[in-house]
């Protein structure tokens, strides 16, 4: 039982929110539990769910890389809910658990990642581990691999998903069913 109880699914009748929930179900992140909790404030639920979906699923940065970053952050946050979820789209594109584990634990020394992927993983890592290291020089290195738009895409994605993870970690939440 989460510390804030989710609404019953039948209580959610807003068509816009139901459409967003269907998109989330198709992606696999977040599952219905997150929405049923935040749906206690319907206006928030729509904005938050849409922002999670857009930042994760749209843009020009590889979705598989974003999925690894999302799980890296959730594990770092100690969030049992978001760290257990998996994007069905990323899995269908070939992402596997070994790559996720290397991205979370050993991306610098590992051989699975390009220099561009490594610096994106480092960006997420340092953002909350030691943000003082994310300085002008670091952004200059990021710009060798990513456009300004992609850096905003990454920064917004990292900070927003971490935002919801630090909330969910306080609720004692776990996914409703195992990810595929």
């Amino acid at each position: 039982m989460t510390h804030i109880a989710p609404l019953d699914a039948a209580q959610i009748k807003d068509p816009e929110l139901l459409a967003l929930m269907a998109r989330a179900e198709a992606l696999g992140v977040p599952d219905e539990l997150f929405t049923r909790i935040v749906a206690r404030v319907p206006a928030y639920a729509k904005v938050l769910l849409n922002a999670l979906l857009v930042s994760h699923g749209q843009g020009s940065v590889d979705h598989r890389l974003k999925e690894i970053i999302r799980i890296q952050l959730a594990r770092f946050a100690g969030d049992t809910y978001f760290s257990a979820l998996r994007s069905k789209r990323a899995l269908a594109a070939g992402l596997d658990e070994a790559t996720i584990d290397e991205g979370c634990n050993n991306y610098e020394q590992g051989r699975r990642f390009s220099e561009a992927e490594k610096i994106a993983l480092r960006y997420a890592d340092m953002m909350y581990l030691d943000p003082n290291q994310v300085d002008r020089a670091f952004y200059d290195r990021l710009k060798q691999h990513y456009s300004e738009a992609q850096i905003m895409e990454l920064g917004g994605f990292i900070s927003f998903h971490y935002s919801m993870q630090v909330f969910m970690r306080t609720l004692g939440a776990v996914p409703q069913k195992p990810s595929p």
């Binding site: 510390h3 804030i4 109880a5 206690r40 404030v41 100690g78 917004g156 630090v166």
Partner: protein
Amino acid sequence: MATDWRAVDAAFYDQLRVYYDEEELVELGTFIGFNIGYHTFFGTLKFYPMFSPDGRLVSQEESARLYGASPASLSGTNLCNAAAG
């Protein structure tokens, strides 16, 4: 939530319920989470308010002098300790 999140447990939520209903708890929790996440990101971008406290449009250099070149959110390792602890 930022500095000692494991203390935000069932008992703490029960204390919150003395003052806030379930809807307000969701509102507070997501708002606080959003601010924890975004202020750290914004802090790395080194941008400052466009206006001085008395309402003048100021340069980023002057704004940094007025508001401080090192936001408090970047001055310690509170979030890191909370996450790694």
